[in-house]
């Protein structure tokens, strides 16, 4: 399987480490950003195949990164991983045709979601 580039936006370093390790085991190249600004800058220079993002990322909502990603990669895969189960946000994720996973994340589900987008 070809190496895929995955961008993770997660402001909790421990959660980010777990997500990164799980996705690296599949042979992917995984970059972690802890702030929206850092992730946006990454998108300016790199073209990931998939984005995995939290919702609550300080002053930003991770869905903004997902939308930005989709502008340059309309078929790019997006997985929203959050501890924030909110009907309104779920609808927003659905509008983006993205996968929605609740924390604590089931690693098998995460891998499947990243493949399916």
């Amino acid at each position: 399987m070809a190496v895929e580039k995955i961008l993770i936006l997660e402001d909790d370093p421990e959660v980010a480490r777990v997500l990164q390790a799980a996705l690296r085991e599949d042979g992917n190249s995984v970059t972690v950003c802890e702030t929206y600004e850092e992730a946006r800058e990454h998108l300016r220079h790199e073209k990931p195949d998939a984005v995995v993002t939290d919702v609550r990322v300080g002053e930003y909502n991770g869905l903004q990164l997902a939308m930005l990603f989709r502008r340059s990669s309309p078929d790019g895969r997006v997985v929203v991983v959050t501890g924030y189960d909110d009907a309104v946000i779920r609808r927003d994720v659905g509008d983006l045709h993205a996968q929605f996973l609740l924390k604590p994340v089931d690693i098998a589900q995460l891998r499947n979601a990243v493949r399916a987008g």
Binding site: Y60, N61, M67, R71
Partner: protein
Amino acid sequence: MIRVKTGQTNEDSIAEREILEEVSHAAASDARVLITGSSGIGKEEIARRIHLHSARCDGPFVVTNCAAAQSALVEALAHANNGTLFIDEICALDTVRQEALLTFLETAEEARRLGAADADRSTDVRIIAASRRNLYHQVLAGRFNETLFYRLNVIHIVDPEHRGWDEEVLESPEETSPECKVFRH
């Protein structure tokens, strides 16, 4: 749209371009938007620009100011049906109306989930909110509802000069209108 200063520097120009890019991004979607920045960056103009370039451009663009007329919010939501509601000074919204807005968003979501069955009672409004305070700091201080913050803040347009600002209030309150203003284009 964004007020251009005389003697604009390269930094001003870059900042303006960044905001224009965000406006274009926001207009292409129907997501809720939060605009933060000091008085004078033209937050209402940014909101209007998003509305006029969005799929809702044929609907009303309604402006309400929480600092001046909190009670006008419910009326403004009704006026904005099928259009865009610009809520200025969202940081001044009291806790009761923060709850009301949360409930409104939930009800709208429920109506959408149920489809057209409850169409007569549902209101389809895109909300663009603005604040001259750092609303995230208001959340951290317990003065603004965190759930409402993330619901409103799907797209965050920040005046680049004030990214990461620490000030409680950037300057004195903007001149406010006590009324809800409805514009049809």
